[in-house]
């Protein structure tokens, strides 16, 4: 039982990362209908930037906002320079450009910081608290930071005029343009915000896994799974979906472990994390493409 609670708790901690990444994906998807395959590598690059700043002696809590700002600027720049001309391009062209971005960030990170893995210290102090038998302080901090970022985003979109304009631009670009909103810039800002949220995810996950150019592969896959489970057109759903797949991931491994101990038959374990994500992705896409909270889109012929 204790193990089960531990698994759920650490699942929630991973889920926080998946939720941030899923939210970043959904923010770009709702406004442009593009799935950003480079989101994971962008987050990885941000994590490297944060590590570099800390190596240069910057305090963690200064480095993090700085990296978020840099990532925001980079996101805006990428949208304006690379994706802007492709707004009405065929899907294949857009997918190919995203894959191109993915490989560029991957190669740049490997070239600048080499492929040797780096241990990143946790920004949170090691303290004991009631329940620390079940969850580590870094995991708890991860959840707290993620929730803080999500709440800030929610407040931004809900209570500020800029947030309202961005929502309008995403929901109905034509009307938004008529109302005097610069839809193009709203899209770029959305990209910037997505990059910043991804940066938080990257920086938070780096101490949990080791920092290396490949670190985001499985995390991005679970981010996709989370976004799909929650419904890729629903930001709130994506966050919920992220937490759901985080817990699910651990529960499946736990269940596999229990079955192996009871019957001696190995079915699934930690070695099949990516396969599990693949199954979740394909199952959701084929059985319920709108996810749990998404809108069912009806295409006009």
């Amino acid at each position: 039982m204790e193990q089960l609670i531990q698994q759920v708790a650490s699942g929630l901690a991973n889920g926080a990362i998946y939720a941030s990444l899923a939210l970043a994906l959904v923010m770009i998807f709702v406004s442009t209908n593009h799935i950003n395959f480079a989101q994971g590598e962008m987050a990885m690059f941000s994590a490297y930037l944060a590590w570099q700043l800390m190596e240069w002696g910057l305090n963690v809590w200064l480095a993090l906002p700085l990296v978020m700002a840099l990532s925001f600027a980079a996101g805006v720049a990428i949208e304006r320079s690379i994706l802007r001309p492709l707004h009405s391009a065929p899907v294949l062209a857009v997918v190919v450009v995203f894959i191109g971005l993915l490989t560029i960030f991957h190669a740049l990170a490997g070239g600048i910081w080499t492929h040797t893995i780096k241990a990143v210290p946790s920004p949170f102090p090691q303290v004991t608290f009631p329940g620390s038998a079940y969850i580590g302080s870094h995991q708890l901090g991860m959840i707290a930071i993620t929730i803080a970022v999500l709440l800030a985003l929610f407040a931004f979109f809900r209570f500020t005029p800029l947030g309202l304009a961005m929502r309008a631009a995403a929901q109905n670009p034509a009307s938004a343009r008529l109302a005097g909103i610069s839809v193009d810039w709203m899209l770029a800002l959305g990209w910037g915000l997505a990059a910043a949220v991804g940066a938080v995810a990257g920086c938070m996950v780096a101490p949990a896994v080791y920092l290396e150019p490949n670190m985001m592969a499985s995390i991005l896959l679970y981010g996709f799974a989370g976004a799909l489970v929650g419904g890729i057109s629903s930001p709130g759903g994506a966050v919920a979906g992220g937490f759901i797949v985080g817990v699910l991931e651990n529960l499946i491994a736990y269940l596999g472990n229990v079955i192996e101990r009871a019957t001696g038959v190995y079915i699934v374990g930690n070695g099949e994390k990516l396969t599990v994500a693949l199954v979740i992705v394909i199952a959701v896409l084929t059985l319920k493409p709108s996810g749990l909270f998404g809108r069912v889109t009806v295409q006009r012929v």
Binding site: I35, V96, V97, G100, E272, K273, L274, P289
Partner: protein, 347 residues
């Protein structure tokens, strides 16, 4: 026979007795004869024959993706998976069942067709970005699937399988690499010929109609679901045969040779060559092998020349090539050359 001419020519080209009609076949005979002669006199080394074989192998793999994406409109970022299925089928049959290498090719083709058909079924419900997403997930998960504990006795897990090359038959005076080059070239010619005829047929027109407008194609009586799944199977078959040949001439397969990077390399080949062009597949295959082999040295030279403080990676070239081509030459090198040729003719 007219349909076998790779470049569609004018009526005069197709006149009986015209040599131009057979120029591609002629090339297919003259080129290897010249190369083998070069090999005999030491001008072309065995290593270069291996490189040529690998280029041809990647061309077949890229052709598989081009058939699916360029002519049927289904995006796949996970063709490395079918490459892996083909390679493993061949390696396992050779290593554990002592099959001769040529007999493993039909087996690999069948295995990949079935795998592709089965993956094509859920893919039916997916379009555009969603299909890209599902195949992306497949590509990322492949190495892990190959290491799954229950298939480990067969796949040998992370250790991989060594495949031993067979010597040329009938005591032919050829080296191993020269012989495999001829085999690979013959198979590639056959595969391209089949692809050409497939696209020129009723089926091919249905496939292209589905790409251009699935709903209109359906209204015209094309069985969209049937064609799309079968096309996924055929595409996987092409890439799988390439995988099998790769395993045979490379003499080794392991889970980590089929990482996500392989799927990207195939995609890059298709985009660089020309996504809806059969000659584009050849260009794409050459590009993939050249980058894989020489990009490392090239990027090292560049970073040394301009004294960059960081090490450039070959992957950077892939990424930049992808984005630059989407802007400058969306139809790939083959499309760009064709456009250039048309312009020159008009002058």
């Amino acid at each position: 026979m007219a349909s076998t001419v790779l470049a569609s020519g004018t009526a005069a080209d197709r006149a009986p007795g015209s040599l131009r009609r057979y120029r591609w076949w002629l090339l297919l005979i003259v080129l290897p004869v010249l190369l083998i002669a070069g090999g005999k006199t030491g001008l072309v080394s065995d290593f270069q024959f291996l490189q040529l074989s690998l280029m041809i192998v990647y061309s077949i793999a890229v052709l598989g993706l081009i058939l699916l994406t360029g002519f049927n409109g289904q995006i796949s970022l996970g063709h490395g998976a079918f490459f892996a299925v083909g390679a493993y089928t061949a390696a396992i049959l050779i290593d554990q069942h002592d099959w001769p290498f040529w007999a493993t090719l039909p087996a690999a083709a069948l295995a990949c067709f079935v795998a592709g058909y089965l993956f094509g079924l859920p893919a039916l419900r997916l379009e555009g970005h969603y299909l890209a997403l599902a195949t992306f997930a497949l590509a990322v998960a492949v190495p892990q699937i190959l290491k799954y504990r229950h298939i480990e006795p067969v796949t040998k897990g992370v250790m991989g399988i060594n495949v031993f090359k067979s010597d040329p038959p009938f005591g032919l005076p050829l080296s191993n690499d020269q012989w495999m080059f001829l085999v690979v070239l013959a198979i590639a010619a056959l595969m391209f010929w089949i692809a050409r005829n497939l696209l020129d047929s009723r089926t091919g027109r249905a496939l292209i109609a589905i790409r251009d407008h699935p709903m209109a194609a359906g209204t015209m009586g094309v069985n969209v679901a049937h064609y799309k799944t079968v096309m996924f199977g055929i595409s996987a078959l092409y890439t799988g045969i390439a995988g099998a040949l790769h395993g045979i001439i490379f003499e080794f397969v392991s889970p980590d040779s089929f990482r996500f990077e392989l799927s990207i390399a195939i995609l890059v080949g298709a985009v660089v060559g020309g996504i809806a062009s059969l000659p584009g597949a050849v260009i794409g295959g050459i590009f993939v092998q050249v980058i894989e082999k020489y990009a490392d040295a090239l990027t090292k030279k560049i970073s040394a020349a301009v004294q960059l403080p960081l090490e450039l990676e070959p992957w950077l070239i892939y990424g930049i090539a992808l984005i630059a081509l989407m802007y400058a030459m969306p139809t790939g090198i083959a499309g760009g050359l064709a456009a250039l040729w048309r312009r020159l003719r008009r002058l």
